[in-house]
């Protein structure tokens, strides 16, 4: 049986990779993927804890997170397409009309 700490460690490592990706990547699509990685690390953590407490709430929470992540991807990609039509680029450093 896989102990709880494995789930938590995996979740924490994925979360850190995701957060580092958001901060260091410059391509907007890669940032979006990094955010998805963060959300999925949350799911692993939730499911691990749900098993620990023998409480389904954590798994239900994970399903809600998956649903919201799908909506977020849809809205995010739509915004990216709209921006790309406008200016033909994906690099967040070039998005500087407004003072950053």
């Amino acid at each position: 049986m896989v102990p709880l700490t494995h789930y938590l460690a995996l979740g924490a490592i994925l979360f850190l990779i995701g957060a580092a990706g958001v901060l260091m990547r410059r391509n907007a699509i890669m940032i979006l993927l990094s955010i998805e990685l963060m959300l999925n690390s949350v799911n692993i953590t939730f499911v691990g804890f749900a098993r620990q407490w023998a409480d389904l709430t954590g798994q239900v929470f994970a399903i809600f997170v998956i649903a919201v992540a799908a909506c977020e991807a849809a809205v995010g990609l739509a915004i990216l397409i709209s921006l790309n039509r406008d200016r033909q680029m994906m690099n967040v450093d070039e998005i500087n009309l407004l003072k950053w």
Binding site: I35, V60, V68, C71, V75
Partner: protein, 492 residues
């Protein structure tokens, strides 16, 4: 296996149902009858919001406040917060109808998104389940990301939407990870159960719980634009359509602060002094950063963005007092939000009304001499600026007075002092605009009131409502303040 049907109090649920139903109806109507006049949908949306407001005022919260296992909570606090959220949506629909650059957008999509965002804010404020806090937050955030970039032809709007979306989702990740850790430490996502478990078997000192609480504070701090997570605010406020900016500066803040209050009321007294220090530092940083940055702005939307950051800092003072168990602070928070909603909406309404088709007046320089060309508009702006600065006899002064005195009563000394000093600093940039309007000659050819277009009646209604409210709360505050105080009675 039988699944028991949860107990549902329909009268309590009615305000949310009305808003969601209205959103679907508005969206569908525009899809089936696209050639209908825009004013019909605007009137319909206003009617939906007004009836939801009526329904929430009519539903007296009783002893059975919680339905669906605490997922939906209807108490006095919820009722007051619902009124605040619906009021701010009402104003933003009025402003959207008045704004010339929004005339060409598909009205059904736009108004539907405003209503969906409203429902998300209501759900986020009316729950003690962390799951619903998250779902409500995402409902209104996703709608607002789209609304920020609704004018697709404008590069600034697209940019604001992208920045808001990327940073908002990043913050959601932190919020969720924090919720997962809190669930892991306590075994529940229900704030009441979490509070109980913290008292019986104290995991409140466990690193997982404190780390989780910290992450949740980061996530919520982002949504209310508290330091050091406010960097997105000026850019997003500047790039979004002005009516949407007005909505963003009030509605999400009310909802996120309401959730923040419920969290602190439940776990605050048991979470220890670390939280006290964090809130203290956040409050001081937020109001100082907001006020100092606002002084240098040349764009009025950016200035109002920094001003809203400063006001979030004042409200964090109330949060710190709530953690020490002050009911007075919760009441002052509700009253403050009411006044803040009116004066901020009023100020944005002047920005909308001063603009013309194709050229919005967003530079502060554009307001030079407005007192001569558009005296009524300038007088309204002066009133809102005086109120935002917190000068009597306006509502802004009374609200700040209640808020800071609540902090003094629970033993804070330096926090209220720093807050008052900050208010003094803020006078400089608020009154700079007033001076500019009255003491300088108009720079360009005066804009004729006719440029406002067919939406002027909406702008007028919003201005009169906001100005009357700000003056009323400044001169006769007591009845509404008592209402706010009574709204906190049933909490926990």
């Amino acid at each position: 296996m039988t699944i028991p049907f949860p107990q549902i109090h329909w009268a309590y649920l009615l305000p949310v149902l009305l808003v969601v139903g209205g959103a679907v109806f508005v969206l569908m109507w525009d899809a089936f009858f696209p050639q209908r006049e825009r004013s019909f949908l605007v009137t319909l949306t206003l009617a939906v919001l007004a009836s939801a407001l009526g329904a929430s005022l009519a539903a007296q919260p009783g002893s059975e406040a919680a339905s669906m296992g605490g997922m939906y909570l209807y108490d006095g606090f919820t009722r007051f917060v619902f009124a605040l959220i619906l009021l701010s949506s009402f104003f933003s629909v009025l402003l959207s109808a008045a704004q010339r650059s929004l005339e060409e957008v598909p009205a059904g999509d736009y108004l539907g998104l405003i209503l969906f965002a409203t429902s998300g804010m209501m759900l986020m404020a009316a729950t003690r389940s962390l799951l619903m806090v998250f779902v409500g937050l995402e409902i209104f955030s996703l709608a607002l990301y789209v609304l920020a970039g609704f004018l697709r032809g404008q590069p600034e709007g697209n940019e604001a939407a992208l920045k808001y979306f990327l940073l908002g989702s990043f913050a959601s990740g932190f919020l969720l990870y924090g919720m997962a850790l809190i669930f892991g430490a306590t075994g529940s996502v229900d704030l009441m159960e979490i509070a109980q478990r913290l008292t019986t078997s104290p995991p409140s000192r466990s690193p997982a719980f404190l780390l989780g609480l910290g992450f949740v504070v980061v996530g919520l701090g982002f949504k209310v634009a508290a330091a050091p997570f406010y960097m997105w605010t000026p850019d997003v406020y500047e790039g979004s359509p002005t009516a949407v900016t007005a909505f963003m500066s009030v509605g999400p803040k009310v909802a996120a602060f309401a959730a923040f209050f419920r969290l602190l009321l439940a776990v605050g007294p048991r979470a220890g002094a670390e939280l006290d220090a964090i809130l203290w530092v956040m409050a001081v940083l937020t109001m100082t950063a907001g006020n100092v940055s606002a002084i240098w702005q040349s764009n009025i939307k950016r200035m109002l963005a920094y001003s809203s950051i400063a006001h979030a800092g004042y409200i964090l003072v109330a949060l710190a007092a709530v953690r020490r168990g002050s009911d007075l602070a919760t009441g002052s928070f509700l009253f403050y939000m009411l006044v803040y909603a009116l004066m901020n909406m009023g100020a944005f309404c002047v920005v909308v009304a001063a603009g013309a088709r194709g050229e919005e007046r967003t530079r502060i320089e554009d307001y030079a001499g407005l007192g001569y060309t558009r005296p009524a508009l300038a007088a309204a702006m002066a009133l809102f600026m005086v109120s935002l600065a917190g000068i009597p006899p306006t509502g802004g002064f009374v609200a700040k007075f209640y808020l800071f005195s609540a902090a003094v009563k629970v033993g804070f000394v330096w926090l209220p002092v720093i807050a008052v000093l900050n208010s003094v600093v803020s006078v400089s940039y608020y009154l700079r605009l007033v001076v500019l309007m009255y003491m300088r000659e108009p720079g360009e050819a005066p804009a004729r009131p006719g440029l406002l277009g067919p939406g002027w009646s909406y702008a007028l209604a919003a201005l009169v409502l906001a100005a009357a409210g700000v003056l009323n709360f400044g001169i006769f505050p007591s009845s509404f303040f008592e209402l706010a105080l009574r709204s906190t009675l049933l909490l926990n």
